[in-house]
Symmetry: C3
Amino acid sequence: MDLLGVLPLDELSHGLANLSMFPYFDMAHYIISVMALREQPGALEVSRVSPLACWFSSMLFCFGGAVLSAVMLAEPVVAPLSNSTSVLLASVVWYLVFYCPMDLVYCCAALLPLRLVLSGMKEVTRTWKVLGGVTQAHGKYKDSLLVMIAIGWAKGAGGGLISNFEQLVRGVWKPETNELLKMSYPTKITLIGAVLFALQQTHYLPVQKHHLMLIYTVFTVVNKSRMMLTGSSASPFAAVESAIYKTLFTGCSPYAALTGEVNKAFIDNGTGSTPTSTSATKESDKNGTAGNHTPVKGQSGSHKAKEESENTEETSCKKTD
Amino acid sequence: MDLLGVLPLDELSHGLANLSMFPYFDMAHYIISVMALREQPGALEVSRVSPLACWFSSMLFCFGGAVLSAVMLAEPVVAPLSNSTSVLLASVVWYLVFYCPMDLVYCCAALLPLRLVLSGMKEVTRTWKVLGGVTQAHGKYKDSLLVMIAIGWAKGAGGGLISNFEQLVRGVWKPETNELLKMSYPTKITLIGAVLFALQQTHYLPVQKHHLMLIYTVFTVVNKSRMMLTGSSASPFAAVESAIYKTLFTGCSPYAALTGEVNKAFIDNGTGSTPTSTSATKESDKNGTAGNHTPVKGQSGSHKAKEESENTEETSCKKTD
Amino acid sequence: MDLLGVLPLDELSHGLANLSMFPYFDMAHYIISVMALREQPGALEVSRVSPLACWFSSMLFCFGGAVLSAVMLAEPVVAPLSNSTSVLLASVVWYLVFYCPMDLVYCCAALLPLRLVLSGMKEVTRTWKVLGGVTQAHGKYKDSLLVMIAIGWAKGAGGGLISNFEQLVRGVWKPETNELLKMSYPTKITLIGAVLFALQQTHYLPVQKHHLMLIYTVFTVVNKSRMMLTGSSASPFAAVESAIYKTLFTGCSPYAALTGEVNKAFIDNGTGSTPTSTSATKESDKNGTAGNHTPVKGQSGSHKAKEESENTEETSCKKTD
């Protein structure tokens, strides 16, 4: 009946579905998350000036998904703190990555082979988080596909979605960019996962759960590894995105000229280059006030930095010597 | 006993109270809300660069009241998303207003007669939302007038009250202005409605609910139509506000000179002109740092733009050709 | 068995533990809180331009702890508003401090002896708030020390912790500073109190609750009075903090030079002087964009102003003549 059922992959998918995330996969997630924080511009200075703000930021990187989904479902946001073992583990990782003598832990973890393995393990936790979010939402809102997608997405990509407020903890404020205006690769892949698992949960997608888990996990791990090894941040969905965008969101509007231009920028974004929407820039010049940020302008820079931070290898360790 | 009871208006008020908001009035609310978003500076650029951010912003314009009151009452903020029909309707409206071929929908809806009807229908939904909020708060906090007013206000004027965070979704950040610092007309009228319905609910106001609904609805619709037809944004409460302000909030303080000046600015605000509180401007110049915004300065500009956006007619359509 | 038990202090501690905060101590808290708001730069202009924004800001100063802990525990944030008597009392205080004819109330309360008494009484309420938060968290999360500390801290120092968002109400936005990046004295002493009461609650600290209440209250009141009388903002924990910092958060890292410099700045901070982390400043210069704030820079200014605002005496009243 099911193609995957007759293959030995069925056993593999069952094995994967019964895998426990704690402690190894969770730890890999914490290490990669805290390293991503450390590679943010200004994060090291914050870690020296205020270890508490740095710790709080790290916890938002590690448990951002749990916090965001708690806010969305009106559950206590302190709940993640109540899981003492996880918080302790994440705190130890935070301490070692930021304050280890000789910077040993960070330099080791930043070596390409180890980072590759840890990133792969972190991608595995994504499947569990998205599925957990979708299941939780399904328990509360039986028939609402949209809520399931929203909670699954929030749980899997929470750290990215709340990045504006995480930055605020560190005294950084970049209102001109957010994950909705320009999605990074992890946010995109999580959204796709949330849609797939929500469709599976409501039986619109005729696949068994453990098969979908296997397929999705393999795809994310392979894709992440490919991106790290080739150093490219080209999205595998660029072509599909561009096609959808051209079909749905252009049309013959009085903004044809503008649309064409921004559309080009949009497609460029998909492949990682810098968008320069001149019309938006003009707009912001017209405003004149430094505080009133208009979108688009400058948003790609920080995102690029973020994405690169996950793709940089041992060079980033040498850089700091 | 009741003056309204002996008139044929009684039947009318009963008829109004039994009116269903879904689907026609709700749709008018969505159309006018999404059009107001589209007329925000920079919104069109966002709609081309990131349809998702644009959709999310539109949902905040349409369901802002439900979201804000959910936050205030610690109920799930995703609850509005679980009403699939409403979200679908709002999404269709969003798509048609922003991406319709030839921009047909926006240009039609922006014609004065149609816009007048739609705006009137949107004002009707305000009564229902305010009353819904007051009733909901009354169910939870029996004797707290203040909570009833707060929830009624939040439900009726949520989109405006959370505008700072709605703008953040689009990459815009204007900390120097918010609806509390300088209330727009819709926020004011909603606050008055919330006070009236809360007083009625606690029997301090000896009026029957359906009579109050009729009076409030007629007042908001007539007033909105008058403002759109005359193109004036003069508040009908300017005189009362000014009197209350002079009585309560000036007094013989050491700031007499300052107060007089700002008071003048305040009254000017009431009638729609531009306030220039020189003392506040001096303050902000003294600070010097671009990031530390002091209030007052520049706040009127954006509000004026917002209010005008609701008063502009078909010209705004031509402008874009 | 207990050293304090044999002293007449035992009776005193029982008496203190049975003390009612309402109305006198609560009122002292409201007066000092609203005066602290009034002494913020730009607050007086806001009070003239928008009494509503000013009132809302005052309520956040008075009930910030209750609001923040409600958010963290997913309880309704409007709950503090439902306590009509407290809100009425705080509103009367707000009105008198900002709008009293001849500015009588503010000038009287700003006289050193009266301000000293009121500040002392406000410090007493801190004990009750921290203990209330710890007890509430203990009721929900039995064995989680971290949650108890978080809620106790939030309840006791909420106004400070949410200051970024309180400022936003007044149209001020200072993302480059917050209470986590550079803790003020009240926030620090509240955190210590939250840790002590959480340890007592879980029986790790072998002290009886009323004894701890007495010791903590006496310490905060005496220390606050000393700081106000000497006009010094030197933290009594500077030495301990510096020792902990040197032991845990430096280590032999590749950032030795940087660390040494920032470490120096950190210790200077502890004694109230101005930190100038050149590396962080360079970073912000490199960014160039006015909207992208990097931390550290300029953060001490506002905090100093805040701390001084509590230490200024009748001079601040004369200044305004």
